[in-house]
Amino acid sequence: MIKILVRGDDFDAGAEITNLSALGGGAVASFIGQVRGDGELEALELEHYPAMTEKALRKIAEKADEQWALHGVTIIHRIGRLKVGEQIVLACTCSDHRQAAIESCSFIMDQLKTVAPFWKKEIKKDGSESWVEERQSDIDAAKSWND
C-alpha cells in the first residue's frame, strides 16, 4: 500500500503513522521533517514541479517497497510557504522487520533530498530571500544506498 500526498495544508503525522501501523506488519518506522529555526529564519517557500512530483515520490516509494518488501509506505510532502516549526515532510514505512522499516525510511528521506523535484527558498526575518543549495552530505547519503 503506497500513499503519496503533495499539498500545502498541514497533515496529522500521528494519525498517518497510526494508520500505517494498523497494517500490523510488526515494525513501523517514521521520519518527520520540520522547518528548523536558526534565529534568522522566518519561513521556507517550497516550490515543486507539479507534473513530476507525485511520479517521483511514487518511484521512490516503489523502489523502497521492492528493496525491503514493505507492507506499506506513506510519503507526505508539503509545498508553499512554511513557517519555522511547521511540518514539511513525513516518511513512514511498515515491514516485518525493524531493520527493514528503519533502513527503508532512511532511504526514502535520502532520496527525497536528491531526486524529488522540490526547491526550498529561505525567507529571513529581515526580508531577504535565498535559494537553499544542495549539500554534499545529502548527495553522499543518497549515493551510499548504491554501494
Partner: protein, 87 residues
C-alpha cells in the same frame, strides 16, 4: 524540418529567466539537451547568462531525470532547474 518542445523552469532558473515556461522551436541538428541549450545560448544573451555553468543545472525529460547528453526524441516537456533541495 523543425521541432518544438515545451521548456519549464524552476527555482532561480525561473527567476533569472523571468518566465516559468516557453515553447521553443529548434532546427534540425539539435538532437540532445546539450544541443538545445547551445542553440538557446546563440539566440539570446540571457540564456548565456543563466546557463553559463551547466554543472549547476539538472534536467528532466517528460518528468524523468536525465543527463545533458539525453536525446530529445519525441519528448514533449523539458525541465531545467538547479539541484533539488526537498525533504
Amino acid at each position: 524540418m523543425t521541432c518544438q518542445i515545451n521548456i519549464v523552469y524552476f527555482s532561480w532558473v525561473k527567476e533569472r529567466l523571468g518566465r516559468d515556461q516557453e515553447l521553443i522551436v529548434y532546427p534540425a541538428g539539435v538532437e540532445t539537451i546539450d544541443d538545445l541549450v547551445g542553440h538557446l545560448k546563440g539566440t539570446d544573451s540571457i540564456y548565456q547568462h543563466v546557463f553559463s555553468d551547466l554543472k549547476k543545472l539538472r534536467f528532466a525529460l517528460d518528468q524523468d531525470f536525465v543527463g545533458l547528453e539525453a536525446p530529445l526524441g519525441n519528448s514533449e516537456e523539458l525541465a531545467i532547474f538547479p539541484p533539488v533541495t526537498g525533504g
